[in-house]
Every structure is written in C-alpha cells, then in structure tokens.
C-alpha cells in the first residue's frame, strides 16, 4: 500500500513537472497575442522561422517566457518592439548574413542577400533619406514567411510579378524614384509568352527575378545589370540555350549561339557597340513575344528605317505578303544575320535573289538582279581603282587631300546603293550607282594627274639639275681661267 502511495505521489509529481515544463516551453508572446487575435502572430504560426523554432522575441526582443506583459515587453530588458526602416533588414541580416548560425538551422541559403541588396537599385536611399528603398519584408512579408519554393510565397515564380508590381505598377510611388520608368510592366508581361504561361500556372517561364535577379537588381543602364544590353543575350540564354530546361516548349535553343556570330551580336558583344540590338530590341522585354510574319519589317525598320520604307513601296512587298514570307528575314535570316556583302545580290551561288527569281521561271526578276549586281560590282571596282591611285599618290608625297575627301562620296554612294537595293527598282538603283561611279572617275582622274605631276616634277628636277650643273661647271672653269690669268699677270 505504501509502495502504491509512494508510486502515486511520484507519478503526480512527474505530471506536475511535465506540465510546468510544458508551460515554460510555450511562447508567452504567442499565447497572449494569439488570444488577442493578432494577425501577424497568427500568420507567424505558418512561418518557416517558427517551424525552425524561432520565436517573436528573436526579432522583437523581450522575454518570451514571462506571462507578465510588462516584464515580457520591458524595453529596459531588451524589448525592441516593431523594428523600423533599415532595422528590419539588419534584424534579418543578423541571422541571414551569419553562415554559422544559418548552418545551425540546416539552411543552404546564401548569406550575402543583405550585402547584395545594398548594391542593388533598391539598396539606394529612399525619399525619406533615412532608409533604403526596399527592406527584406517589402518582398518576403514580415510574418508568414515561407520558402521561395512554396507556392504561397510572394516571391514564388507565379507570384513574383504581382509582388513586384505592388510598387512598380504604382505610378505615384515610382515617380518618386524614376519618373521615366514605365509602370505597365505587369500589364505587358501578361501579354507576353512568358506571362501567359506563368498565368496558366507554369513556373518555368521567366518572371521578374529570372531576368532582373532578386537581391542584386540593378538599373538596366548599369553595366553590371543582368539586363544591360551587353549582358541581356546571356541572361536570356540561361533558359533559352538550355535544351533540357526548354524541353517541352518546342522552340530551338541555338538562338544565342547564332546571335553571337551575327552582325548584331558581334557589334554588341565584341565591339561593345550599345547601339546594336540585343534580344529585347526585336522581341520586346516585358511583353516578349516572337514578332509575327507581318511585323518583322516593322521591327527591323525601327533601326533600318530607310530600308523598311523602300521595301514597303517596292514590288516585293505585295509578293511577300501574298506568299506570307517574312520580309527582312527571308533574305537576311533572323538570329544569325551576317554582315551583308554584295554577294547577297544577283544570281550567283551566294545570292538570295535567285532563290525566287530563276532564269527559267522569272526571267525579268532574274535579269534585274543580274544587272543590279553588275552595277554594284562596277561601283566597287571603280572605288578600288580610285582608292589605289590616291594611295599611290599619297605614298609619293603628292597633295591629294581633296580627292581623298571626294572618295568619301564614293563610299557614301556605295552605302546608298546597298540601301536602294531594297526598292528593287533597277532604274533607281542605277541612278545611285552611276552617281558614285562618276565621282570615282573624277577621283581617279585626280589621282592620275597627281601621278603624272609626280613624274613631271622629277623630270623637271633632272632638267634643272642639268642646267645648274652646266652653269656650275662653266663658272668653275671661268674662275680657274680667271685665276690663271691673274697669276700670269702677277708673275709678269
């Protein structure tokens, strides 16, 4: 009996101890704030931080074990309250920038988010001048934070565009920082292939962070930005050149490889010419979509305006439209547009005209292409002849700077003729070429005159040297005779 009594006492003591221990483990912050129906506290229950054992007090300070709210939220004992401004991000960085601590929670996240945020466009000072534009909570929320892979996360690929647009679609807000920045990105995005697929629940197509990055977002004009003109092709290629990733979308993955070899790619990526187009200049950026057959000439025409105008009024316009041929692309290709040479014109093996204008089926077009090629070749050879003559004259020290200047006009006519090709009108083409050839002929004449003058000068020098030599020898003989005579006179 005694032993049963002892057993009961010990059991009761154990239960009481367990109850006490349980009561002490229960976070008093949550206990009270949940009772008050505090929304952040209720959200925190689902928060990844709560799941990792963190309490309200880890961010807000105070005593999580005290039931006495005055003691629990005593500022003199470390209660912080609601952090403001940069203190929010600094609070997050306290753990997220500490590799050791993060490892303790089993995290594999990088620990440079705060550091990179400070270098980003969002890390600049806000209009208040007291804090940075964006804090961690701006995108991730403060309570109820879940993993980025969790579909309810505001930064989950399907939600990212909406999250970013909270600020970026707000004209009144955005004008404080960048009044020239459009605020219709989300709207455009929803019309893009990426946006439409995203809206249908496909998390793979690009959303804001895919191109702009997350913590390290920089202005598009910043050379380090992923969307800076020179970096953009590589950014797009991260997905579009990845055959495994793109599997299922049924589009090629060699665009980037082709673009880097194209005249545009070489200009942009090798010559660092920012005027050359990147992917977005033809496909759009937020509203990215492949240009349709009918809009290709419009897209190319934004830069190649003259060519596009000439083409629109040319006989080819109707023929292409009827056959639903993409206008510029039919002859020049798309991603791999190579530097245009005269070989493209005519009926030779490299020419594109003969693809449609065969001698048997389309004699008129065939002859026109053949004639136009002949004309441009003649202009090229006249230009080369004139250049060679001027160079030779310069090498021989002749003053031919005026002719050298005129050579520019020939070069200009050559460029003009290449543009005029797009009118596909032999007569108009001939006029431009002949203008250039006339100038080239004038330059050649000047070059030839300079070379004739060069020979004339040398002959003149020869004659004058002969005359001077005869005079000098005569004078020498005269002096000798004179001095002999003088010596004779003196001797006498």
């Amino acid at each position: 009996m005694a032993s049963l009594k002892t057993y009961l006492i010990i059991s009761a003591a154990c239960v009481s101890l367990f109850q006490l221990a349980g009561a002490q483990r229960k976070d008093q912050c949550s206990t009270c704030h949940e009772t008050l129906g505090d929304k952040p506290t209720l959200l925190f229950a689902q928060d990844i931080h709560a799941q990792k054992g963190l309490s309200c007090a880890d961010c807000h300070g105070g005593n999580r074990n005290s039931e006495d709210f005055e003691e629990a939220m005593n500022k003199s004992k470390g209660f912080l309250g609601v952090p403001k401004g940069d203190d929010v991000s600094k609070m997050c960085a306290g753990c997220h920038s500490n590799g050791e601590r993060m490892k303790g929670y089993g995290s594999r996240l990088t620990t440079n988010q705060w550091e990179t945020l400070l270098t980003s466009v969002h890390g600049k000072l806000s209009t208040t001048g007291k804090e940075h534009i964006a804090q961690c909570t701006t995108c991730h929320n403060a309570h109820g934070i879940v993993s980025v892979k969790n579909p309810v996360s505001p930064v989950y690929p399907l939600n990212a565009a909406t999250t970013c647009s909270k600020c970026h679609a707000n004209a009144a807000y955005m004008r404080n920082y960048n009044p020239s920045l459009p605020v219709d990105q989300l709207e455009k995005y929803r019309t893009s292939v990426h946006g439409m697929k995203n809206a249908r629940g496909d998390a793979k197509p690009a959303e804001c962070a895919s191109c702009h990055g997350s913590h390290d977002i920089r202005s598009a004009g910043d050379a380090k930005s992923r969307v800076h003109a020179q970096n953009l092709p590589a950014t797009c290629a991260r997905c579009h050149a990845d055959a495994a990733y793109m599997k299922g979308y049924k589009i090629p993955t060699d665009q980037y490889a082709k673009f880097t070899k194209s005249v545009h790619g070489v200009a942009l990526l090798q010559k660092r010419d920012l005027a050359a187009p990147a992917c977005n200049d033809c496909h759009g950026n937020h509203g990215a979509i492949p240009p349709g057959v009918e809009s290709i000439s419009k897209v190319c025409g934004t830069c190649h305006a003259l060519n596009a105008d000439l083409f629109s009024s040319s006989p080819h316009k109707k023929a292409f439209d009827e056959r639903r041929l993409p206008e510029c692309e039919t002859c020049h290709g798309n991603h791999e547009i190579i530097a245009v040479t005269d070989k493209l014109l005519g009926v030779g093996p490299d020419a594109v005209c003969s693809r449609c204008h065969s001698e048997a089926e389309n004699k008129k077009g065939f002859t026109a292409a053949q004639n136009m090629r002949g004309l441009i070749d003649s202009l090229e050879s006249s230009k080369n002849h004139a250049t060679a003559l001027i160079e030779e004259s310069e090498q021989k020290g002749m003053e031919v700077s005026e002719a050298r200047f005129k050579l520019r006009e020939v070069h200009q006519a050559r460029l003009e003729s290449r543009t005029m090709v797009h009118a596909f009108n032999e007569q108009r083409f001939r006029e431009v070429v002949e203008k250039g050839m006339k100038t080239a002929e004038a330059v050649s004449q000047e070059g030839e005159s300079a070379l004739e003058e060069y020979i004339y000068r040398r002959m003149g020098l020869g004659v004058s040297t002969l005359i001077i030599s005869v005079l000098a020898v005569s004078l020498y003989l005269f002096i000798r005779r004179l001095e002999r005579r003088q010596a004779g006179t003196t001797r006498v």
């Binding site: 003053e399 040297t465 001077i468 004179l482």
Partner: protein, 359 residues
C-alpha cells in the same frame, strides 16, 4: 665685255658712279688660309635669306591668314597653284637650311674669334639676326595651322609663360589671349611677314656695310706673321664668283629636297582634339626643349622649368656679349676658354638634338 654691255655700264656709271664701287670692291681682299672655307657660310646664309624673301612673297600671293582659311590656302597652294608645291617646299627647306647655315657661320666666327675688336657690332647684329631667324621659324611654323604646329606653338608659348612676373604677359601677348587661337595665327603672321623682315633687313644692312667697310676678319695667327706672307684673294670677282658657285649648288640641293621630300601639310589644327603623340618643336629648338624635359620639377626652391629658361636666357645673353668679356682675343691672344665653351655648346646642341629627335 661686249660693246652693248660696255654702253649699259657706262650709262649707269655716268649716273651713279659705279666705278667707285667697283674700285672699292676691287681693293677688298679675302684672307686665304686653312679655315677660309668658313667664310662662305655668311654668303650661303644671305643667299638662303634672299630665297626666303622671294618664295615668301610668292606664297603671300595665295596664303590667307585666319583659322578657317590658313590650312585650306596652303592646301590650295600645294595642289592647285602652278609650282605652288615647289615654292612652299623650297620656302620650308630653305628656312631650315638658313638656320643651319647661320648657326655654322656663327660658330665659325666664334672659333676664329672674328668678333674681336673692331667687329663687335658685326657680331651683335649677326647674333640678333640669328635670334630673329629663330623667331621667323617659330612664327612661320604655325602659319599652315596644322595639328603639329598648333600644339607645338601651344607648348612653346606655355614655356614662355612659366617665366616669373613677365612670362604670363609675354605669353598673352604672343597668343593674343589666353589660348592659341586664330588671334595667335594673325599676330604670328604679322610678325613673320612684317615685323621680323623689317628688323632683319635693317640689321642685315648694318651687318653687310660693316663687313664691307672692315673687310674679312683675319685669323689670330696673321697678327704674329709678316703681312707679306699672308695669302689673299680679291673679293671681286674671285670670292664672289666662288660664292655664286656655292649658291648654285645650294639651289640645286633645295630643288632636290623639295622634289624628293616635299614639305608635308598634315592635319588641320583642331583645338578640341587631343594633342597628338610626338609633338616636337623645330629641330633648332629641340636641344632646349629636351633639356627642359630632363630638368627635375623642383631644384631647391626654384621651379625646374623656370630655372632652365633662366639658364638659357643668361647663356644667350653672355653669348651675345662675348666680344665685351673676351678681352684676351681683342689683345691678339688665343683664348682657349672660349674654344672650350664653344666646343661644349656644339656637342651639347648636337647630342640633345639627336636625343630629342629619337625619343
């Protein structure tokens, strides 16, 4: 002389007593000794100066001063004007040969001590003409208004500007403002075709009159040997004919240089363009330019460049007044000290010019 020649001579003689001049020249003798060859450089310098005058006047017929016209007018002279290229090239080559010949003439006079009493004024006028020749070169270099000349003038006038107190006003006076502009070109043109030729002609007149009045200077050794043992040659016609022979050869040399090495025009000056690499002054300024490059930025409490300019100025002044401090030569004694200085200066100029040219 044929009868027509005699008649013309008699006609002129009757009016201006030419016979007196011929008699005067006939009595003038040129000493003949182992250094006689140096006497010819005075004549060659005179000949080159006359060529400068003639070609300069011809260039003036087409040259247009002004920022917008100068380069184009030279381009026109070089390409369109009949023999314009020849006139311009001869003018440029003769300018350089003139400075070279004048330099040789100056050093020969120095080593022969020909500046000694009573020829002090001849030396002074010669030296002043030499300084003017450098002024001619400096001002003429800018006139084509090409890139190299523009920046060389900028550097040259900058150097003048570092002299304390008077440097800045001199620089502004030379440039016609704070910078090298069209105003600089206008005043350089004025100096080149009006001020300098006027002064030069005056000095040349005095120099030539003195040479004729005092005759050629005899070497110091002549003073120790009897007069009868001295070999001489009549100035007229013997020396003058030899002079003419040399002038013909120089003329031919100029023609060869002009045809084979036509003077380049280069690019038009652009004040906003970056200075091209290898800006150098004309070769006769190169030794001073190179020296200033080697002088440390600060020597004791004086700016290195200022010190360099002051040293060159003092040296130039001492050179100008040699006849007044070299009393030994005037007494007929051989002053080796002057020889050593002269030798040092010749070597210094040659070495620094070559170094400046190569680097």
């Amino acid at each position: 002389m044929n009868s027509l020649g005699k008649k013309i001579y008699a006609w002129i003689d009757e009016r201006v007593q030419l016979q007196n001049l011929v008699q005067f020249l006939g009595k003038k003798y040129v000493p003949v000794h182992r250094h006689s060859v140096w006497y010819y450089f005075g004549g060659v310098s005179l000949f080159l100066f006359l060529i400068q005058v003639v070609t300069g006047i011809l260039l003036l017929l087409y040259y247009k001063s002004g920022e917008e016209l100068a380069f184009e007018s030279i381009q026109y002279i070089m390409s369109k004007v009949q023999f314009g290229w020849l006139v311009r090239s001869i003018h440029s080559w003769a300018a350089n040969l003139f400075v070279l010949s004048a330099m040789i003439h100056m050093f020969s006079v120095l080593f022969e001590k020909s500046y000694r009493n009573p020829r002090e004024i001849t030396w002074i006028t010669g030296m002043l003409m030499f300084f003017l020749a450098m002024g001619f070169g400096f001002s003429g270099y800018l006139l084509p208004w090409n890139e190299l000349a523009f920046f060389a003038t900028k550097v040259g006038t900058d150097i003048a500007g570092v002299v304390p107190f008077i440097g800045k006003p001199i620089m502004i006076f030379l440039r016609g403002g704070e910078d090298v502009t069209g105003a600089t070109l206008s005043r350089f043109f004025g100096f080149h075709v009006a001020v300098f030729p006027g002064l030069f002609t005056l000095l040349l007149g005095v120099h030539l009159v003195l040479v004729q009045r005092q005759g050629m200077s005899e070497p110091l050794e002549f003073e120790k040997t009897p007069q009868a043992s001295h070999k001489t040659m009549p100035f007229f016609p013997n020396f003058l004919l030899r002079d003419l022979l040399l002038w013909l050869l120089v003329l031919n040399l100029l023609a060869i240089l002009a045809v084979f090495f036509p003077w380049e025009l280069g690019k038009k000056a652009d004040a906003f363009a970056p200075a091209p690499a290898g800006i150098k002054p004309e070769w006769y300024f190169l030794f001073m330019f190179q020296t200033l490059k080697y002088i440390p930025a600060q020597i004791l409490f004086i700016d290195g460049e200022v010190l360099g300019i002051m040293v060159f100025s003092v040296a130039g002044f001492l050179w100008l007044v040699i006849p007044f401090w070299d009393r030994k030569s005037s007494r007929g004694e051989n002053n080796r000290f002057v020889n050593y200085i002269g030798l040092f200066v010749v070597i210094y100029i040659i070495v620094f010019t070559i170094v400046g040219w190569l680097l």
